[in-house]
Amino acid sequence: MSLPPGAQPAPGSALLRLATIGSVDDGKSTLIGRLLHDTKQLFEDQLEAVASASRRRGVDGVDLAFVTDGLRAEREQGITIDVAYRYVSTPHRKFVIADCPGHVQYTRNMATGASTADLAVVVVDATAGLREQTRRHTCIAALLGVRHLLVVANKMDLTGWDRAAHDAVDAEARALATRLGIDSVSTVPVSALLGDNVVEPSANTPWYDGPTVLAALEDAPAGAWARAGDGGGSARLPVQWVVRHPGGGRSYAGMVNGGTLRPGDEVVVLPGGQRSRITSVETFDGPLDEASSSLSVTVRLDHEIDVSRGDLIASADHPPQVEREFDATVCWFTDPPLTAGRRLRVKHTTRVAPAQVRSVDARLDISSLELGPAEALEPNDIGVARFVVGTPLVVDQYHRNRVTGSFVLIDELTNATVGAGMVGAPVLAVAPSG
């Protein structure tokens, strides 16, 4: 399949956000470079820059990994340090690709890339199989709510196009996905280096009749962010900004999620609990009959009630919970380790609140996918902790709603983002051990 550069997506087709994950040197950046190159979306000057960077570092031919390794330190070391975002458009949709780093010490950056992904592309070296870091990444992606895996069995040229190598990767990936509660898995035999089955079907894999990587991405379900939460359709609107109208009156600005908001809807304003009714839903372009998930809107309510930034307007049916204390699954990013008593700030929806760790309760063993007792979370650990917050938060369990179920942890002194949290216990469909 060959497309003109920057080909226009068809009207109405959505964005697909995907993250490439997997271990260092398994070929993530090369795959993205190949995808851009073979869809003709690399410009001539970019290609020339990649070729000259390759020559300067003594690489034979063109190293397509230099397409996304955009930092000097990355090209020096031949590794990916931080997420690179790249964009591919086909006549079917626009893709936002987060090329994530493979090294353990950059797990925070991988989580950044995967947190908004609809789908994870898991790149595996078919000569080596799934590595520990591949399992860690896939586990983090699953915890973050990614429910579709496209497994790329890469470096198939080095296996002599051995079907058994592909099948082994596929079997291993499926076994892992099952343990992680992911039911949508497909595996493509690929050579990112040579381009087989990335955009163009390969003549080297007559035993494979599935889609290429690009074809699989074009068919993948999009819009994880837009999906209805809590039984399908209970809307939430975290208030970002109170718009004061020049002629008097106020409206409340924010992005709808979890369901659809319509004029006439019964709502509750949390954490206060006041009930009201929506009188209008508007965008900058005028009033709407309804506003679906992912749309930035302003709404008006029929009572003059006190609503501020940080409050949440929710459908009166299935509202979220107001909590001062809750358990969460935490990805911890930095030194010193997270321990009980630590004071932090938490940013949740549009509210920032002081928080304290009541207890660290468990740590996830990435190899066994079991939770074991722990009193501290080291950098790049995933575990379970209990938090107390100084201002009540309006939360859903993360697996029900990614927006109201997520938060980040902020260091009080440096303001750095030091951890990420998901309300509730880790949601992995893990079989009981023993």
Binding site: G70, R86, V243, V352, A425
Partner: protein, 328 residues
């Protein structure tokens, strides 16, 4: 907390799954919004978030197409109220006159307050060396920008930069932290998960906010068409006197004169980007309308900056090096 919590999820989410509610996250829903709607909605979300969390935000406006889209989005984000922050133009002094006229008209139409920080003032005050009247002042803008940010106490600056422009930009967060020297440290960026844009800074530090991060050049033009956003006329094909220099077409102006041996000729050209007139090249083009520009952009074989910015051709890390110093 039960340390067997992971296993206990058997009767947490798995029970949910049997009950049908956890499938909420799993079930694909046809998205009713197009890609421009989603890009617009997220950009407006980011603008509102940064405006709410910072004390003194400012919007950087060059008069180029990306900052025109940014100003339009800022206007939409707070309508029917006015944009609650000022607009700052870092003026190299090497302007296309059409762009200055456009800047003043747009800012007035939005009812926003315009601040102008002049590179010439930085030169006169000895803050930067005088490169001479005709040399590019692109890199000098960094000092002028950082001085303006410090003098006004701005703690957040919106910019129209896009990740598809350059490989270093492709690495940058939507909210990009700058230390008290204005520096970007690409190895120590804040994790930025979900849509939780975390903008806390200490006095003297600031943020750059890039609501157009995920937009491509083509998205920008499609949005300009959809929203009927007016642009400076130089973005559309017109006849102009140019010289060919370093493989770029430079427009003759007060600062660009033909060098010995250079042939001055008239060409139909347009500008793909607008920057310092001494280092912004024109491209040969017949595209006089938005539709014609979109058709041209869709077929372009050279990137926007590669075609038009001499400053990005110095080295493979030109943009990264400038950004580390505090550039846009």
């Amino acid at each position: 907390m039960d340390t067997a919590a992971l296993r206990s999820t058997q009767h947490g989410p798995v029970a949910d799954r049997a009950g049908g509610s956890v499938t909420a996250l799993v079930r694909p829903v046809e998205h009713p919004l197009g890609h421009l709607d989603l890009l617009e909605s997220l950009a407006i979300f980011i603008i509102r978030e940064v405006a709410a969390e910072s004390e003194r935000p400012v919007l950087l406006f060059s008069g180029g197409k990306d900052s025109a889209v940014l100003l339009h989005l800022a206007s939409k984000a707070f309508r029917p109220a006015r944009i609650p922050f000022p607009v700052l133009h870092v003026d190299t002094g090497h302007n296309f006159p059409e762009v200055l006229a456009y800047r003043d008209a747009q800012v007035e139409a939005e009812g926003a307050r315009l601040l102008v920080a002049k590179v010439q003032d930085s030169i006169d005050q000895g803050r930067v060396p005088d490169p001479g009247p005709v040399a590019s002042r692109n890199r000098l803008q960094t000092t002028t920008l950082l001085d303006a940010i410090n003098a006004n106490g701005f703690d957040a600056a919106f910019g129209g930069a896009r990740r598809d422009e350059d490989k270093a930009r492709a690495k940058e967060r939507v909210l990009s932290f700058r230390d008290s020297f204005g520096q970007w440290d690409p190895k120590r960026q804040r994790p930025e998960l979900w849509q939780l844009y975390q903008g806390s800074v200490r006095p003297g530090e600031h943020l750059r906010a890039f609501p157009l991060s995920d937009w491509t050049e083509l998205d920008i033009w499609q949005y300009i068409r959809r929203e009927r956003i007016e642009l400076p006329s130089i973005y559309y094909a017109h006849e102009r006197e140019v010289v060919e220099r370093d493989g770029m077409l430079l427009a003759l102006s007060d600062w660009v004169s033909p060098e010995p041996g250079e042939d001055v000729h008239k060409e139909m050209v347009r500008f793909r980007t607008v920057g310092d007139a001494t280092c912004t090249g024109a491209v040969r083009s017949e595209a006089r309308t938005v539709d014609e520009v979109i058709a041209e952009v869709a077929l372009a074989r050279v990137s926007e900056r590669g075609a038009t910015r001499a400053d990005d051709r110095f080295s493979e890390s030109a943009m990264e090096d400038r950004k580390r110093e505090g550039y846009f």
